[in-house]
Symmetry: C2
Subunit: 425 residues, 2 copies
């Protein structure tokens, strides 16, 4: 596609849709017309001409004059119908819907190939940070060791407020909702679902791996309590919700979303509020770090604009890592170093550690730090959630099951010494 | 160009050339053959087969089987001859030589167009950080407000050692040379030339501006003394050598390289040693930050590999901002907020401030902080250098000449109070 003037059919005119409308109007070099906007709610006032608005998706999908469909609605199931139908009708598509993408990656790759069109989705992962394009075009020939980062602005906003301003979870969430960083139902953000969708997309572009989000353990931050924050603070750390996509051996990759303690010299320590940050560890380049706004009307609109512009230049993802003749497989066979806050000693019978480095017990706060199999956390996810236990990685080191992890140096906790009785296993 | 196997003619087999050789051999998906390596020194032992080596550049330039010329030599004048000749012979070229680029941008753009070939140079700016590709492809339609960062690994290494480990300038430089981060003649790194070349390249890709490096004021770090570091430390800052490429009004851009005080909450505060960091401030996206290794054999080799791979996919810079119908002009008509360490009061007659916010005098250390015209610094560059005065920006705010800058709140210095006599102008 190489036209001077593109016609865009837009689905959704919420926060990001309006952001796109603004950045398109104020772009320096690029001219594209939004010729139709399909929306659902007939009662909302719209800041654009009535002639642009339609309530019938087929007015866009069936219009041969429309070159590019931009899908920016909330409903992943409806988005799936729109995106796949548009691709079948040989329209290029831009979407920012990570759930839709994570659930249907394989089919979406095949549909692009079958119909000779492109689907771009930079705005779906880390807002304004051009991480997908960087992985596709810059790291295309470099073996990646690890991708990690802060992929969810809502949970990061809540964590920042809780840790920097010592605001309680519920108040921090309410503030995030008030500022438009969290939706009315924030469960997908705080339970790690959203970050897991993004990790699935990253796993494809960084490692060529196609997995479903159901394969990815995601332990969110909704069970986080004051004592957990106190523990992190004593260690000079902050708790961040981090997806980790990591190559273990030559051919196996693990992917999970677990809160992690990051120390003050860590890139992500200072990534606060609605900002996102991504670390890409390449075999040749070493650690690269990218930071930018992970959410918001204009930043995400800018990512969508960039995709539209790329489509106008004939760009499409080539899924280079996916096509490279180096098959990588997904694995959960890995040991992790975690902090677990538990209620009673019976919890530890259920959630069995391979090795315990530290154990602390008191009247109302108990924790262990040790090595645990990822498969144990997966098996007990529901138990952890229901019993309001909290799990955080103490680092992002991973250990294959056959190796012994060296014992960590014990660290002393220094608050409430009179209440605390230190037991080392 | 879309071939399964590319033939590369390589000029230079030093640090980056050998890095490229390594990353090409260990790349995941990409196969390209280095069919000839042209080197100068006949007496150096080479870690590759003798058959690959030539001492005659025409063996590469005249070989029709060679698709891509990769130029990685030190000598900018010779590099210019090689690169322009290769383009004229309709070969694609990759170079990492920022001096050659900065001195001849306009001609190099024209040559590419005339001969229908591409010149890529991601490795020339900030080593492994994909900043040019990001500006070209991701920010192509977004108005940029500012690009800044740490563009020179050598000077950053020296500054880091001086500030974190309190090592003297000469020892820090010697250590940088020993570790291979500084060349035997580091003058271009520490006097700001190297950063200025990179700023010129950035000005093209971020703003479409073609200027020569002679237009860019560069005040380096070679006059830095202990008292300057003490001043920065008292303010909770670190001194970093930062190029600033900034849009002032709708149509004017200033570009200069001056050391700057950055505070602990600034992205660049933690960018230490040989690392580089770039801040791109976009009108829609807000502040983006990219960090990675700015030098080194494999990281720069990886940047060159990425360019070679892009060429194999038909990629070329389109210089989109340069072609966009929004002419921007270069200006030095701007006021800056600077710290100046001077020797005697006569220096201040020569280097005239528009407004002085703070003045400090003692037996052996004098400074002023105030507003000064960039044109004054340009006029007195030689005087500053010869008299070992030191200039640093106290922030990156800029003021057009017609506006009055509000007076800053005076800050007290708190060390050596008995020695210091505070005079406020």
């Amino acid at each position: 596609m190489s036209k001077n003037s593109l016609n865009i059919g837009l689905f959704g005119f919420g926060c990001v849709g309006q952001g796109l409308y603004h950045v398109l109007k104020n772009s320096t070099g690029f001219k594209a017309n939004i010729t139709k906007i399909a929306v659902k709610n007939r009662n909302k006032p719209r800041a654009v001409s009535k002639d642009l608005i339609t309530y019938n998706k087929w007015e866009i999908l069936d219009d041969p004059a429309i070159d590019i469909v931009v899908e920016l609605i909330d409903d992943a199931a409806e988005a799936y119908l729109i995106v796949t139908e548009a691709l079948r009708k040989r329209k290029h598509v831009v979407t920012a819907n990570k759930k839709l993408l994570a659930l249907h990656l394989e089919e979406l790759i095949a549909l692009q190939k079958e119909h000779g069109v492109s689907l771009l989705y930079e705005g779906a992962v880390c807002g304004s940070i051009p991480i997908l394009r960087t992985l596709e075009e810059y790291f295309d020939n470099e073996p990646i060791k690890k991708v990690s980062g802060i992929f969810n602005g809502t949970s990061n906003y809540i964590l920042s407020k809780m840790q920097s301003e010592r605001i309680a979870y519920t108040s921090a969430l309410a503030e995030a909702q008030e500022k438009g960083f969290a939706e009315s139902d924030p469960s997908g953000d705080v339970n790690g679902d959203d970050a897991a969708y993004k990790a699935v997309i990253i796993a494809l572009h960084a490692f060529g791996l196609v997995i479903g989000p159901q394969a990815v353990l995601n332990l969110g931050i909704s069970n986080l309590q004051k004592d957990d924050l106190g523990y992190a603070r004593e260690k000079g750390c902050r708790i961040k919700l981090l997806p980790l996509v990591k190559r273990l051996h030559q051919n196996s990759i693990c992917v999970f979303v677990i809160p992690q303690l990051v120390s003050s010299d860590h890139h992500l320590f200072q990534v606060e509020n609605e900002f996102n940050g991504v670390i890409v560890d390449g075999e040749f380049s070493g650690e690269q770090f990218l930071q930018g706004r992970g959410a918001g009307s204009y930043p995400t609109g800018a990512a969508v604009l960039s995709d539209i512009s790329a489509l106008s230049h004939g760009y499409g993802y080539e899924y280079k890592k996916h096509r490279q003749a180096r098959p990588l497989s997904f694995t959960n066979a890995v040991f992790l170093n975690v902090y677990l806050r538990y209620n009673t000693i019976l919890d530890l019978e259920k959630i069995e550690f391979d090795e315990i480095y530290e154990k602390y017990e008191s009247a109302d706060y108990n924790y262990v730090v040790g090595k645990i199999a990822l498969t144990t956390l997966i098996a007990e996810k529901e138990f952890i959630f229901q019993n309001r236990l909290f799990v955080a990685l103490i680092n992002d080191e991973t250990d294959p099951p056959t190796h012994e992890l060296p014992r960590q140096k014990k660290q002393k906790t220094n608050s409430n010494p009179e209440l605390r009785k230190k037991i080392t296993a």
